[in-house]
Amino acid sequence: MRELALNILDICENSVKAGASLVRVSVAAADDLLTIEIADDGCGMDAEFLKRVTDPFTTTRTTRKVGMGIPLFKMAAEMAGGSFSVTSAKGVGTTVRATFVLSHIDRAPLGDLADTVVTLIGGECPSEFRFEVSVEGKGFVFDTRELKAELGGVPVSEPEVLVFVRDMIKENMIDIGGETL
């Protein structure tokens, strides 16, 4: 993974698979600290699974016995002087939180968040998403529920809609000074 936005995409896929109806993603940069949080209301994990969720040999997929998504995200945070935590409760949901020292030499760039959003909301996605991004107090919110209300029946997955959303998020990222994160 070369960008933290790719980690976000990867972790959000877990939330979709967990049957989440809402996934809240927050990206906040302030005082030399970048905090990324992905919180869902999906099926959650029991205490036993949660204990070994950062182990690369833990996975729910059946095609292979390794699961690198969470371990890679954890590594990215710890490499950059940050911290990593997963909290979860069966039937309630899961929250993944990672922090990064912004100025740390080994911190991966945030990368293309707009591409990540488009990839998540394109295709058949049963989950709603809410993205909150802020840089030193300036921020924006993108919520698929608001988008759907504006679209009045036109599917979010229409390529022309996706291109609009990508351009919008790219512009907003520039406006809040987040494109260089």
């Binding site: 993974m1 790719l6 995409l9 990867d10 896929e13 698979k17 997929r61 095609t63 292979r64 699961g67 690198m68 998504g69 890679l72 293309d112 591409d115 990540t116 488009v118 990839t119 394109g122 295709g123 058949e124 924006f140 993108f142 608001e146 988008l147 504006e150 679209l151 009045g152 029946g153 036109v154 599917p155 997955s157 229409e158 390529p159 022309e160 809609v161 996706l162 291109v163 609009f164 990508r166 351009d167 919008m168 512009e171 907003n172 406006d175």
Partner: protein, 124 residues
């Protein structure tokens, strides 16, 4: 700052087309499915997905859906893309990148010629 309200123009343009399309058989839809698990993402599936979205939007292709799926169990061959054209056998492309994605849209989706050089059978 651009906002969601600015999407009105697209909505008005699309609504007429969607109504037309809803009357068609759903089975006439072409689907482009991109593998988007950890293995696919780290191999470059996200730019591939976004290139397909761009190409379908720019060419105004109707009844073509870009969607994603989980791990197909062949992580070393990612990014993997399946193309389902109605009435034809599904086709699996491997090691796809944005350039190949553009060619797949032009040759396979638009012109109906499968890009045999990117198929799983010849490259595994």
């Amino acid at each position: 700052m651009k906002s969601i309200a600015d999407i009105k123009a697209i909505r008005e343009k699309m609504q007429g087309q969607i109504n037309l399309r809803d009357n068609q058989d759903a089975a006439s839809e072409t689907r482009i499915v991109v593998g988007m698990a950890t293995c696919g993402i780290s191999a470059g599936a996200r730019p591939v997905f976004n290139t397909f979205v761009d190409e379908v939007a720019a060419r105004q292709l109707k009844n073509v859906k870009v969607t994603r799926t989980g791990c197909m169990g062949m992580c070393a061959l990612e990014p993997i893309v399946e193309v389902h054209v109605p009435g034809e056998e599904p086709v699996t492309y491997i090691h796809v990148d944005p350039d190949k994605a553009r060619k797949i849209v032009a040759n396979h989706i638009v012109n109906g010629n499968v890009c045999t050089e990117y198929l799983i059978g010849d490259n595994k």
